[in-house]
Amino acid sequence: MTEMFEKLSLYMQYPFVRYALIVGVLIALCSSLLGITLVLKRFSFIGDGLSHVAFGAMAIAAIFNMTNDMPLMLAITILSAILLLRSGQNAKIKGDAAVAMISVGALAIGYLLMNRFSKSSNLSGDVCSTLFGSTSILTLRKSEVWLCVVLSILVLIVFVLFYNKIFAVTFDEAFARATGTKASVYNLLLAVIIAVIIVLAMNLVGSLLISALVIFPALSAMRLFKSFRSVTICAAVYSVLTAALGILVSVLADTPVGSTIVAIEIAAFAVCWLAGAIKGGVRR
């Protein structure tokens, strides 16, 4: 045990481990907050879909040799998020099908472009690390950490200020619109925030595992709690704890960061599910 702590304190002296911890916890926090709304609105897969769009955008940025691919990724992902969330209301192609279509399409086109035009010698390695985010969180630069901190704080502030409106629009959009809440504006706001979080989260867990960060905290918290506020708080705490634990375990055990976090989230979900079942059983 003491050996483990010594190893840990040794690692903590390296800035890249501290950066990873800060960025990881912040992204986990933001995605868990938005995750509740997405799960309840039946958009669980939007994280997956948008992250593939971001992957496609990354491929385009790579072709044009852009040194900073963040702005392009953000722009394209935000646009797709707006289209997807808007289409939920009156589309010919329904929400889940639209997400699936954009997700698969962007992934295929992105890989096609990378395969055809990439000058990298290790193409499959590049693709693998963008999809699974194997090492990128451990190679963060200081500027990226700051960008992530600023954007996360912005997301948190917006979430707290619009918490009541997000609740109203999520619970019953028709009622909210009929009684004078500008639901379309808040849907737009949600779409933009979600896109920002996903582009940020690609650094952490890679595009394939973002869904886990969005879904697991919300689902676990919903096993245990019964009001929107307690679910929100529980999801945030759950997400921060599992992300921090996942990063520490991956550093100690030398496992891939993203997969480790998701494995821990699955285990924690099982615990919550069990606790919820016991609690419910006792009351009945």
Partner: protein
């Protein structure tokens, strides 16, 4: 002056007309029942009155000091709500959202209004309970309390008793009747239940192949009621 005026409405979607040339007015304190066959455009009319959908032709105007966003609405339950983790208090309070503008949090007046409507609907004991664990009748009363937070003037009810057992249905109708008679709230109700419409409503709007608008006494003598009843018997 009438609270709600619908002039020469043409309703439909995707360029497909369901109903045209519809004219009617609702005065303060009215109890209007909208009846008609399935697919006759009842829900579309409701959405148009609420401003969720724009009419293909004609217009909906409000008068008598009523603003468009002051129309309270009791929707049919959606799939999303069935497993939504929210307490009764959170849901009722969200009825105050429409007036908030950009103000981020609820103030004392909002909370007082929510408490009052919870009491009015007899939900005091359930305030902290989870919405999805309530019975169908209790859930309807929660949504009614929320609608009352949004308005004190006019309520639109979309099939308020669907899926409720007979005893709870009767309670629900009594509750709505009390709101109309005692609190003077105008009621517009979509209903399949012609008998209840006859018992409680003061006016009837029948839409479908034949259109009727007028008092329920006149409606009973009309052809629209005759055909509707007959269809109901054969169905």
């Amino acid at each position: 002056m009438a609270q709600l005026i619908c002039q020469d409405l043409t309703l439909g979607y995707d360029g497909h007309v369901i109903l045209s040339g519809l004219n009617f007015e609702v005065d303060a304190g009215d109890y209007l029942c909208i009846v008609g066959e399935n697919g006759s455009g009842k829900s579309t009319l409701m959405k148009t009155i609420l401003g969720l959908q724009s009419p293909m032709h004609g217009k909906v105007t409000t008068g008598d000091g009523l603003r468009r966003s002051e129309i309270g609405y009791l929707p049919q339950q959606t799939v999303v709500q069935r497993d939504f983790p929210a307490s009764v208090w959170e849901i009722v309070l969200s009825g105050c959202q429409g007036r908030q503008g950009l103000r981020p949090f609820y103030n004392k007046a909002d909370k007082a209004l929510a408490s009052e409507n919870i009491r009015k609907m007899g939900l005091d004991a359930l305030t902290r309970r989870c919405y999805r664990e309530l019975s169908g009748g209790q859930q309807q009363r929660v949504l009614l309390a929320r609608a009352l937070c949004a308005t004190q003037k006019i309520l639109l009810l979309d099939e308020p008793v669907s899926g409720l057992d007979p005893r709870v249905t009767a309670e629900m109708y009594d509750l709505i009747d009390t709101l109309n008679k005692r609190d003077g709230i105008t009621i517009i109700m979509i209903s399949h239940d012609l008998d209840a419409a006859m018992r409680y409503a003061s006016r009837i709007l029948h839409i479908g192949s034949t259109v009727f608008f007028g008092s329920k006494e006149d409606y009973l003598k009309s052809d629209a009621a005759y055909t509707f009843r007959k269809e109901g018997e054969t169905a």
